[in-house]
C-alpha cells in the first residue's frame, strides 16, 4: 500500500473504519474528561499554569547558562555528561557507551527523544536487542510500530489486538484479551529482560540545573526496575527539559499527571543524582534542532512543552485521525508546531490539520499558544514550503475580489445567480469538496446589502 502523503489523506483513510475512529475519539475524550475533573479540584490551577509558563520562559531565556550550571553540577555528582548536536551524534554516543562497557543486553524506558533520534533502529542495525519496558511501548515494539501518542503509545490498539500480539510474541492463550492476564504475561516477560540487562536507557522529564540531578516519571516503575538492576544508566535528555531549581519541580509534577491522564501525580517520580557505587551514569544532552527553534521568535515557546499529551487528547482532529496520520514522532497539535521546524517539506500539511479552535492552547499546562503558532507556521509554509499553485492562485484571486467592493458585489450576485440556475450535477461535481457530503446554502432572494439599500439607506 502506498503511504498517504498528506495529513488529510491519512485522516480520511483512518475515518473509513468508523467503528475504530469513533472508539478512538471516545477513548481520548474520556482521558480529556478525566483531566478536567482532576484540574477542577485544584483552585489555583490557572495560577499554576501561569507559573509553569513563566518558569519555562526563564529557562528558555537563560538556557545557555542554565545548561552549563546543570552540566557542572551533574559532573560534580559523578555523572558523565555528553553533548549531542543532532540525532546521529546522540545515537553514536549511546553506541560508544555500550561498546566501551561491553554491554550486550539493554532495556529502555519510555523516551520520546530516543524515538525522535531513531535510536532503536540504529542499535538494532548494530546487532543490539533493545527492549522497551513501558507496556505500551513493548506492545508496539512487538507490532513493529511507532508510538501513536506520546503518553499512551499503543492507544490506537484495541484489547483484542493486544491479545493477538501477545499470543504471537509471548505465547498467551489465543483469543484472550483479559487485561489482568495480559499484563501479568508482560510482567513475567519483562522481569527476565530486567534481570538480564547490563544497561538501562531512560528519558528525562526534568533536569534540575541547581542540583545537577534529573527526574524520570513513569506509571509502571519500569525506569526504576531497569536502572536499579543494570550497571550502566544512560539518560537521554532534550536540552529544553531543564528547570532552574528543585523548588520548581512541584509546579510541574502537579500539572503533568493531571494534564496527561487526570491522575493527581505520576506513580513514580524518580530522582537521579549520582551513580551508585561501582556503577556508571551517563547523561546525553541533545539539541537536534532545538536551538534553531529557540532562535525562531514566533515558535520558540513550543520548547516549553513537558510532553503531557493533553493537546492530543483534546484535539478533535487528532482524536479522529490518530497519531499515525501526522507521520512525525510527536503527533497532534504540539507536534504540528514542532515538526515543521525539523523538516518543513515533510511536515508542511500539519499546521493545516487544525480548525484553529484553540482548545490545545487552553488545555496546555505551560500555556503554549499552540493554535497561534499553527497560524504562523501556515504563513511560513506558503512562502517556504512546497508550492501549491492552484491554492495560491485562488487565494490571490479571492483577496483581490475582497479588496474591491464593486467587484465583490458583482461576483456575489453572479455566484448566487449561477447557483440558483445551474443543474445540481454541475454544482455538485467531483471538484466540489464541500458538496461531497454537505449541501451548499440555499440562495436567498436578495443579499443583505440589497435589502439594506431598499429598507434603510433610502
Amino acid at each position: 500500500m502506498k503511504l498517504p502523503q498528506t495529513h488529510a489523506d491519512a485522516a480520511a483513510e483512518f475515518l473509513k473504519d468508523t467503528d475504530r475512529s469513533h472508539w478512538h475519539d471516545d477513548t481520548l475524550w474520556h482521558v480529556r474528561s478525566k483531566r478536567d475533573a482532576s484540574a477542577q479540584k485544584i483552585p489555583e490551577w490557572e495560577q499554576l499554569r501561569t507559573l509553569a509558563s513563566q518558569i519555562k520562559d526563564h529557562v528558555l531565556s537563560n538556557l545557555d547558562t542554565l545548561l552549563l550550571q546543570f552540566e557542572k553540577n551533574a559532573q560534580a555528582n559523578g555523572i558523565e555528561v555528553l553533548w549531542a548536536k543532532d540525532a546521529q551524534e546522540h545515537n553514536e554516543h549511546v553506541l560508544r557507551i555500550l561498546e566501551e562497557n561491553q554491554v550486550k543486553q539493554l532495556v529502555k524506558s519510555k523516551s520520546i527523544l530516543t524515538e525522535e533520534c531513531g535510536l532503536n533502529h540504529f542499535l538494532e542495525d548494530k546487532g543490539y536487542d533493545v527492549v522497551d519496558t513501558d507496556l505500551g511501548e513493548r506492545i508496539i515494539q512487538f507490532n513493529k510500530q511507532v508510538p501513536s501518542h506520546i503518553v499512551m503509545p499503543a492507544i490506537h490498539l484495541k484489547k483484542k489486538e493486544i491479545g493477538d500480539i501477545f499470543h504471537k510474541h509471548l505465547g498467551t492463550e489465543a483469543g484472550s484479551d483479559d487485561p489482568q492476564y495480559l499484563t501479568e504475561a508482560a510482567r513475567q516477560h519483562l522481569r527476565q529482560k530486567f534481570i538480564q540487562a547490563h544497561a538501562a536507557i531512560t528519558g528525562v522529564n526534568f533536569g534540575i540545573a541547581e542540583t545537577g540531578g534529573f527526574v524520570v516519571c513513569t506509571n509502571e516503575g519500569n525506569a526504576d526496575m531497569g536502572t536499579h538492576l543494570a550497571d550502566i544508566h544512560i539518560a537521554c535528555m532534550g536540552i529544553e527539559k531543564l528547570i532552574p531549581r528543585a523548588a520548581d519541580l512541584g509546579v510541574f509534577l502537579r500539572l503533568l499527571a493531571r494534564s496527561a491522564t487526570g491522575q493527581s501525580i505520576t506513580n513514580y517520580n524518580s530522582h537521579f543524582h549520582r551513580p551508585r557505587k561501582d556503577k556508571k551514569m551517563y547523561l546525553i544532552l541533545v539539541d537536534n534542532g532545538r536551538t534553531k527553534q529557540l532562535g525562531r521568535e514566533d515558535f520558540r515557546n513550543s520548547l516549553k512543552c513537558i510532553r503531557c499529551g493533553a493537546c492530543m487528547n483534546t484535539c478533535p482532529i487528532y482524536r479522529r485521525s490518530s497519531g499515525f496520520s501526522y507521520n512525525s514522532t510527536v503527533p497532534g497539535p504540539i507536534g504540528s508546531i514542532l515538526s515543521p521546524g525539523m523538516d518543513l517539506k515533510k511536515h508542511s500539511t500539519l499546521p493545516f490539520a487544525s480548525t484553529l479552535c484553540g482548545s490545545c492552547s487552553d488545555v496546555c499546562p505551560v500555556k503554549i499558544n499552540i493554535h497561534e503558532q499553527l497560524y504562523k507556521w501556515r504563513q511560513v509554509i506558503t512562502k517556504e514550503g512546497p508550492s501549491q499553485p492552484s491554492k495560491k492562485w485562488a487565494m490571490r484571486f479571492g483577496g483581490n475580489v475582497m479588496s474591491k467592493p464593486k467587484l465583490f458585489d458583482l461576483m456575489g450576485k453572479m455566484a448566487r445567480k449561477s447557483l440558483s440556475i445551474s443543474p445540481r450535477g454541475f454544482v455538485y461535481n467531483s471538484f466540489n469538496a464541500w458538496g461531497k457530503h454537505r449541501e451548499l446554502p440555499e440562495v436567498p432572494k436578495e443579499s443583505f446589502k440589497d435589502w439594506y439599500k431598499k429598507n434603510r439607506n433610502k
Partner: protein, 242 residues
C-alpha cells in the same frame, strides 16, 4: 456612540436574515447603526490559509470603512477575532470591535428582550468566539462560569435550552479546513449534530453563521429536520423557516 455594522461576506450573500436580525436588535436597543456599503470581508479566509498578504487589501478596506466609528459590531465571533487581532490591533484610538453578543452584554448591558421562541434549542459554542473572545468559559479553563450568548438566550421567553454532552467541541468548519480536510471536517460536524439530536434539539443556534452553515449543509444533505438559526434571529424574535 457611533456604531458601524460589519457583516461577514458569506452572511451578506447567503444569510441576509441573520444580518437583518443583527441590525434590528441593535436598533431596538436604541443604537444608531450604520452599515457602510463599501464593505466586503475581513480577509480571514486568505489569512487562515497562510496567505495573510492576500487579505491585506480587504484589511485596508475594512480600516477605511470603519475608521470614523467608535464601535464596530459584527455578528460573528470568528470575523471579529480576526479583525481584532490582525486588522485593528495596531490602531491606536481607532474603533473598538465587538462581537454582537458581547456588545449587547458588555456595552449595551441588555437586561430584557422582547422575544419568544417556543422551541428546543441547542447552543453551539463557536471556537473563536469562545476561546478567542471569551464569550463564555471554555471547558478547558478552571475559571468561574460565565456565558454571554447563553445569558441572552435565557432572556427569550418559552425557549427550551438543552445541555450538550460535549458543550464546546469544535464543529469542524474551520474555514478552508472544511474543504482541505473534508473527511475530518464532516466527521466532526456529524458528531456535533448527533449530540444535539440526542438532546432532542429542534434548532441549533450560535454566534457564528459559518459553523451553522457547515452543520446546515450536513443536516440538509442527510434530510434531517433540525434547523439552524443565527442567535440574532432568535433574540430578535424570528421563527424557524420551513
Amino acid at each position: 456612540m457611533k456604531v458601524g455594522l460589519f457583516i461577514p461576506c458569506y452572511v451578506e450573500q447567503f444569510y441576509p436574515n441573520a444580518a437583518i436580525a443583527s441590525l434590528q436588535l441593535l436598533e431596538k436597543a436604541g443604537v444608531t447603526v450604520e452599515y457602510p456599503l463599501e464593505q466586503t470581508c475581513c480577509g480571514q479566509p486568505m489569512a487562515n490559509s497562510g496567505y495573510q498578504q492576500y487579505g491585506e487589501g480587504a484589511a485596508q478596506l475594512f480600516r477605511k470603512n470603519f475608521e470614523a466609528y467608535d464601535y464596530v459590531v459584527c455578528p460573528s465571533g470568528s470575523c471579529t477575532l480576526h479583525a481584532k487581532e490582525h486588522i485593528l490591533s495596531d490602531q491606536e484610538g481607532g474603533p473598538k470591535i465587538y462581537e454582537l453578543c458581547e456588545f449587547l452584554t458588555d456595552v449595551l448591558q441588555v437586561k430584557t428582550l422582547d422575544a419568544s421562541f417556543p422551541f428546543r434549542v441547542g447552543l453551539h459554542a463557536s471556537c473563536h468566539g469562545l476561546r478567542g473572545l471569551h464569550l463564555a468559559k471554555p471547558s478547558e479553563l478552571m475559571i468561574p462560569e460565565f456565558n454571554k450568548p447563553l445569558g441572552l438566550l435565557e432572556m427569550v421567553k418559552d425557549i427550551d435550552l438543552v445541555q450538550l454532552t460535549r458543550k464546546d467541541e469544535c464543529c469542524g468548519f474551520g474555514g478552508t479546513f472544511a474543504v482541505f480536510e473534508e473527511a475530518v471536517s464532516v466527521d466532526m460536524g456529524r458528531d456535533r449534530i448527533k449530540d444535539h439530536e440526542q438532546q432532542g434539539v429542534q434548532v441549533i443556534t450560535g454566534a457564528d453563521m459559518s459553523c451553522l452553515m457547515h452543520l446546515e449543509g450536513l443536516l440538509r444533505r442527510e434530510k434531517k429536520t433540525i434547523k439552524v438559526m443565527h442567535i440574532a434571529e432568535i433574540l430578535n424574535g424570528h421563527t424557524p423557516e420551513n
